[in-house]
Symmetry: D2
Subunit: 239 residues, 4 copies
């Protein structure tokens, strides 16, 4: 499987706290464990030409992972649109954490994708509510993260097609933390954790879920529909 990990890659260069945790960027860590799992992984970042997402890169990507936060607006409109089109044509998409506000995700959802948030070292406990779903394979009853940014409901998304994880936060909130959507021939997995000031992407269970998500999102050859004016297949009666 060909995976591209896209990262905004700004916090890691500008904030020493983040540099300490992810010296080569969040994308580097994510690409690392996916390569170890045997995938063919590339990375792309905001400040590369075309944000590293040329037509050719997109055409050769089976599943795209997206992390962004403070520079969503700097993603060029036509590139966001091209990514959306590739999803509709069948590329899988894994949307991480603050990428809920990315252009690509908002275009695909049609809603504000807004939510409540707080940086206060909340403990997060993500409960599995869909234990038949392959994205939960290898996970226990819940997945706990000692300290994370809080995201709270209401999360303004369309009703997910599958709701997989619900998070409990120490400060009193809940959140739909793992959710899937289909758009066109593409499958989308939103997964909440991963604030840049915490070492969340080193967590083995978080890595397991992302691997499961990538595997689930891959499209191995579903039908391509033809649209537009169509001749009748059956005879139509004279009236």
């Amino acid at each position: 499987m060909n995976i591209t990990v896209w990262n905004e890659y700004r916090h890691e260069k500008e904030n020493p706290v983040v540099t300490d945790i992810y010296p080569e960027g969040i994308h580097h860590v994510i690409a690392g464990f996916l390569e170890e799992a045997g995938h063919n992984v590339k990375t792309a970042t905001l400040d590369e030409e075309h944000h590293g997402l040329t037509e050719e890169v997109l055409a050769n990507t089976d599943v795209l992972i997206w992390w962004g936060h403070k520079a969503h607006d700097e993603v060029e409109e036509d590139i966001a649109e091209a990514v959306k089109q590739r999803v509709l044509e069948g590329m899988g998409l894994v949307v991480l954490h603050s990428a809920h506000f990315s252009k690509v995700f908002r275009k695909l959802m049609g809603t504000t994708c807004d939510l409540k948030w707080r940086e206060a070292d909340d403990r997060e406990r993500m409960w599995v509510v869909d234990p038949a779903h392959p994205i939960t394979e290898g996970i226990g009853q819940y997945l706990e993260i000692e300290k994370e940014e809080m995201y709270g409901e209401h999360f303004d998304i369309p009703t997910p097609e599958e709701l997989i994880f619900i998070s409990w936060f120490e400060g009193g909130e809940v959140f739909r933390s793992g959710a899937t959507f289909k758009r066109g021939r593409g499958k989308i997995f939103y997964f909440r954790p991963g604030h840049e000031t915490y070492p969340t992407y080193y967590n083995k269970e978080v890595q397991q879920v992302i691997q499961n998500g990538v595997k689930w999102a891959q499209n191995e050859g579903t039908p391509k529909h033809v649209y537009g004016n169509a001749q009748p297949i059956e005879n139509i009666s004279e009236k």
Copy 2:
């Protein structure tokens, strides 16, 4: 309930076949039966200033009905965006027939909303597949239309939250003809029939479904969420 019926209102002025059927416009016929049902109904059309959809009109509309076909592109971007925002804030939306390709619907769905079509006087039979849904009240096992434009799958929409009608077409196709979606606090009902060259909106059962849809789509006071940075409700432990 305050209803606004929006119509492109071009075919009726340009095509004598359509003028014969809807001399005062499709919106006039729809507004008529909704008024008879006791609602407070206004109309708005493309060629009015602001397409008849000022901020004030939108603010005072509980449910908006939308019919458009050949001039989707002439709907101004900021007005389409304002309508979308009002839906997210709670205004109901009933999307009719070729409005599947309207800017408003496509923005809310996040997909191409493409489909197959044919103008060949197909017979259409819409089967009720959700007989517990209030939008089916007063309808029998199916609703039949002698001649209509064919719309065929695949209909490139997100999975509907509720699938209410499935159409059978004489020429060999099927279509998800009645479907609901929620976006933000707004409820959306897509209803397929109503090509301009057929007298479909005079059909009593079609009228019944539109009335049911309007009633279902109305929001009578659901919660308004607050988004953004939030203080903890519970004490957070020292770590």
Copy 3:
């Protein structure tokens, strides 16, 4: 609307703590606020003949509310089956708290309906996650109950058609506390709160949700399908 409130009515007669809170039974309190809201309400309890649920009573009930806990097994098989059949024919059903384990609910769900639980005075905060749903009308961002029994995930139910509330519990769990299902022509609303040792059904917001649920669950005349051997509607070609 004709509502029947069914209650097991055992704890109230046997446990002084419960007697103090609900001297005339939980059903009496629920019937009271629904009558005040203008409905025609009857009650029925386990120890009445036929558990108070004769064919006639069921035939004249638009929406049935069910509370049970320690005596689910004493509900006669054929009465549970008759209630299920009436739901499939269009009677609404509101299932409260420990009735998740009732025969009627389990028959309709097809799963174990099991869950985690604890009686430890947990604080419960039910967050609205579907702010377009009429069952949330009049409620704020969340509904808080100072002390309640905890119910925790995994709740072994089929994926709800609509997920309306998610509860946060002080002890670290989450729960899908408000959820809807359709079965046949019947609409079902499961609503979590209401352990017998707490005065939960006096809570005005809990009452509001139950009223909303009853209103939502009522069937005003949806199609009755015919099943079995069917003649073709269209001509079938000779082959």
Copy 4:
């Protein structure tokens, strides 16, 4: 993967028309193409001891395929119940054609599972409506069967979690022909075609869908939840 193909195996022994098509039984044909695809396949039939479904057989089955028609009532209650329990624990289930009325499927659905039917050599055209779903891999825009028994809506099932195929029938009906459900840790795929008097299970595309369905239904190790009384994970405040 360990697959067990269960077949009633009566028509094939009693009706010469069926014997001609499936001389060694429908199960034999299905087992054949699944073995060719590399799976480890066993068969079991109604008239074997325990219907061929001992505890050991069920424990060693990853995905069970079920075909039944005229003898649903002869399936022993406790065996149907044991199969249901295994599904809730994670065994996949593929339910074919007239097995919509099997005890196992009805117990899992909670509804009557009734439908319209006709044996009149209708042409069936199954349209793909979920082109992102792995069960559609390798299929075109639709799958056509020259002659089949008609099944028509309303199909009295709970709303499927995923609707994959909708059938068009020559005589004027539609049907939700491919649909998925989850119950407990088990995944269920209902697939309509396969009346015993037609050679449907020799159709390469039908075989492809069944193979896709089996692959999709397999559970590779999702979480096993603990139910019942639970200690708090977090400290609960004194009140």
